[in-house]
């Protein structure tokens, strides 16, 4: 039964990535290589982030939400954006369309994140006899994260790869990208600053991810129009 539960949670955590890959045209253009490269970039970014966190962050005396520390953490969080920038612009991909490139990068990014952050706790925890909702919620969080990563990649590709975008939209794009990339800090604030429960945080993340996905989709399609 416990293996069963682990299996369920794994489906919830990693299933959407596979579904996304097979259901969208990504699978037809064989963009797996791009995703793998993006995942490797994520790995490198995670290492750099780890080193930065360990170097710059103090051991805080209290359990409360410390704005200065959180600001530092948010800044370190922007290393992610740099990693994504590198993955989108510097990597020599096969000649695939921008449209598919950002999806492949976002997907690889989200998948690597899920594997690194969720596989180990899942393997250790969900196989145990004890039942908690945590692993199901964690799976849902992985879904939200997938949506956010793809949105961020979409916004990133708008920022860095598309040259002829409407001027009026640029601040909106940057604002959206800012919101999406500070999501980890926002959730950490909700968790520790406001004392939200994990379920509420996950609900919020799902909601925000859907909203952001909608925005970035709209932005992307409006930017697409002049060229199309």
């Amino acid at each position: 039964m416990t293996m069963f539960h682990f299996f369920n949670c794994a489906i919830l955590t990693f299933g959407p990535h596979a579904v996304y890959y097979s259901a969208t045209p990504l699978s037809e253009y064989d963009t797996l290589g791009t995703s793998v490269k993006a995942a490797l970039v994520y790995l490198g970014t995670a290492l750099v982030k780890l080193v930065c966190l360990a170097t710059f962050l103090n051991v805080s005396e209290s359990d409360s939400f410390d704005p200065y520390q959180e600001l530092l953490k948010a800044l370190i969080g922007f290393i992610d954006v740099a990693g994504l920038y590198f993955a989108l612009t510097q990597l020599t991909h096969r000649n695939i369309s921008q449209n598919h490139k950002f999806q492949a990068v976002g997907l690889g990014w989200a998948f690597a994140d899920s594997v690194l952050h969720r596989l180990a706790p899942l393997w250790v925890g969900a196989r145990g006899l004890e039942f908690t909702w945590d692993y199901i919620l964690q799976g849902l969080e992985a879904n939200a994260n997938l949506v956010l990563s793809i949105s961020l990649a979409a916004l990133g590709s708008l920022m860095w790869l598309r040259k002829n975008k409407p001027r009026t939209l640029i601040p909106i794009i940057y604002a959206c990208a800012g919101i999406v990339s500070t999501m980890p800090s926002i959730t950490s604030y909700l968790k520790r600053g406001l004392g939200w429960h994990f379920a509420e945080v996950v609900g919020f993340e799902l909601f925000v991810s859907l909203v952001m996905a909608f925005f970035s989709w709209q932005l992307f399609s409006t930017c697409q129009k002049p060229s199309a």
Binding site: T24, G125, L129, E130
Partner: protein, 562 residues
């Protein structure tokens, strides 16, 4: 307190762990809702016939006594708080040997040795008496039955009470265990219980030699004071036996201390040798006493004037009995009884005389003095028990803990024995003198008695599980060495038909589990979620026609989009 930093680190550390996936593959953490110490019902063979609980490992769902009648409980661990125990239920299940997954008895919080609040008896006496009767009955049922499933005892605490309340609620509504209603699984991982080697029993003796007039000290008559210290109970790991026979041991140690004060001064050294004996094997027909007496040479045995055995003298009743096996008309018996009787009146105690003949052909030895009597040594047992206990009864059972003994009763008993002995030794019978007056330096020392009583009340002393060099045995030996001379420790092998099995305590893991139905349902929901997601993505990125065409064409062919 550095959880914030810790969380950051944990977050990062998880990444590292994932990199070292091989390590993780072998990791098995237990995220149990609660872990509690549990104590297993004793398992033993008596002449090859199995008794007690025959299994140790447990892995079943928890249930309470509120199940539907006729329900199949062969895969359920029934949790029963002894405070509200239904003895007929137990009688029915154990008597008729109905199958159960296991039994978990919850002993009241105050039985735990960690429970400190109100020590000593007096409060809520009827409730205590009721509890005691239930436990005695329960214990008698359990240790004389052959039970094919694991039986454990645990002390109630907040965690286990919460679990029990949940289980009861579910059983009352008749719902099966699900994730939301909280089914619990009780798990004890233990190997198969193994037979123990024949246990060693340890007797400790010490002498206070009397003042030699002229010639050999062995010519002096000897008075022996004896108490058996080991216990036997349904749960060996918590069988502390504060009354049976912790009270006797405490009294013996204190009497040894008092007389050592008198015997160190040549002016007050009596013309009797005093022999103190702490014997083991008490629950098994006083086997240790038997071995101990056999080890004496004939001359020594004959020099024993009489022996006083102390057994269960710490309960609140104001009545003690002097059990003898020689007829009361016997001059020695009369003398001993008179001595006790006179002192008893002064300390507000009643002492009665009970005579029980020995049947040599019967292997059962109900009182310690009977071992002396069988070797023709005059002896008597001082006890609060009016009747001879059966085998394995009144030997430190479940209820027999610190809360059921009264210090006042022990003080009184000590005074009674010490005073009457002293009057006999110094030839002051019938005179109203008070040698061990309360406020003198010869008075009973309450702190000393209390500390020994506390020590004995938290040390389980079931002989097969006590090693030769157990700290308690060492402590008793040292105590006798402090007050007496020629302290001698004798190790013997317990004979008799008892074979014991190990595993007396374990850790019980309580997991809150979801039912398989819940996981099936979850799988269904997840499957449909993924299918809907798939369809949604196909429709939005490739169009509805593609989705339909996916189902029309064989999946091996590639779908081409315009």
């Amino acid at each position: 307190m550095a959880t914030q930093r810790k969380e950051v680190l944990v977050d990062s550390v998880y990444s590292v762990i994932a990199l070292l996936c091989i390590l993780v593959a072998c990791a098995e953490l237990c995220g149990a809702s609660a872990v509690v110490d549990v104590y297993r019902l004793i398992q033993y063979d008596l002449a090859g016939v199995p008794f007690g609980s025959r299994l140790a490992s447990l892995n079943h769902h928890a249930g309470s006594s509120f199940f539907a009648p006729g329900a199949d409980l062969s895969r359920t661990v029934v949790m029963l708080p002894v405070r509200e125990l239904n003895v007929t239920f137990i009688r029915e299940y154990i008597g008729q040997r109905k199958p159960l997954g296991g039994l978990l008895f919850l002993l009241p919080r105050m039985f735990s040795s960690e429970y400190k609040d109100s020590a000593g008896g007096g409060d809520d006496k009827p409730g205590k008496e009721l509890l005691r009767n239930i436990l005695v009955e329960l214990e008698r049922l359990l240790i004389h039955a052959n039970i094919r499933y694991p039986v454990y005892f645990a002390f109630e605490d907040d965690k286990i009470d919460a679990v029990l309340a949940d289980v009861k609620r579910n059983d009352a509504t008749g719902q099966p265990a699900t994730a939301t209603t909280g089914g619990y699984k009780l798990v004890v991982t233990a190997p198969e219980p193994r037979k123990l080697a024949p246990p060693t029993i340890t007797n400790i003796q010490g002498w206070l030699p009397g003042l030699k007039a002229d010639g050999d000290s062995n010519q002096l008559p000897t008075i022996a004071i004896v108490a058996s210290y080991d216990t036997f109970g349904a749960a060996p790991a918590i069988s502390v036996g504060s009354d049976s026979n912790g009270s006797g041991v405490v009294a013996l140690v204190e009497i040894a201390r008092l007389f050592s004060l008198l015997y160190t001064n040549p002016k007050t050294r009596g013309r009797y040798n005093l022999l103190f004996g702490l014997t083991s094997g008490g629950p098994y027909n006083y086997n240790g006493t038997h071995k101990w007496l056999r080890s004496f040479d004939q001359r020594l045995r004959e020099s024993i004037d009489y022996a006083i055995c102390l057994n269960s003298i710490g309960s609140v009743d104001n009545e003690l009995w002097l059990h003898v096996s020689k007829p009361p008309e016997n001059a020695y018996i009369k003398q001993i009884f008179e001595g006790f009787h006179n002192v008893a009146e002064e300390v507000d105690l009643k002492v009665g005389l009970k005579h029980k003949k020995i049947n040599i052909s019967n292997p059962r030895v109900a009182w310690e003095h009977e071992q002396f009597s069988r070797l023709r040594v005059t002896a008597a047992t001082l006890s609060e028990l009016p009747l001879a206990p059966e085998l394995l009864e009144s030997t430190g059972g479940l209820f027999d803990n610190r809360h059921f003994v009264s210090e006042a009763a022990i003080f009184r008993s000590i005074k009674l024995v010490a005073e009457s002995l002293a009057r006999h030794i110094y030839g002051q019978q019938g005179k109203n003198i008070n040698i061990f007056a309360d406020d003198s330096n010869l008075g009973v020392n309450p702190a000393y008695v209390q500390s020994w009583l506390d020590l004995l009340s938290r040390t389980p002393r079931v002989a097969p599980f006590l090693s030769k060099n157990d700290p308690l045995i060492m402590a008793m030996k040292k105590e006798l060495e402090d007050h007496t001379v020629e302290v001698n420790v004798q190790h013997e092998v317990l004979d008799g038909m008892f074979t014991f099995y190990d595993l007396t305590s374990a850790k019980l893991y309580i997991y809150q589990v979801a039912s398989v139905t819940f996981d099936l349902l979850l799988l269904l929901v997840l499957g449909s979620y993924l299918i809907i997601l798939f369809s949604f993505l196909v429709v939005t990125t490739r169009g509805l026609d593609d989705l339909i065409s996916l189902f029309r064409r064989p999946p091996s062919r590639k779908v081409k989009t315009a």
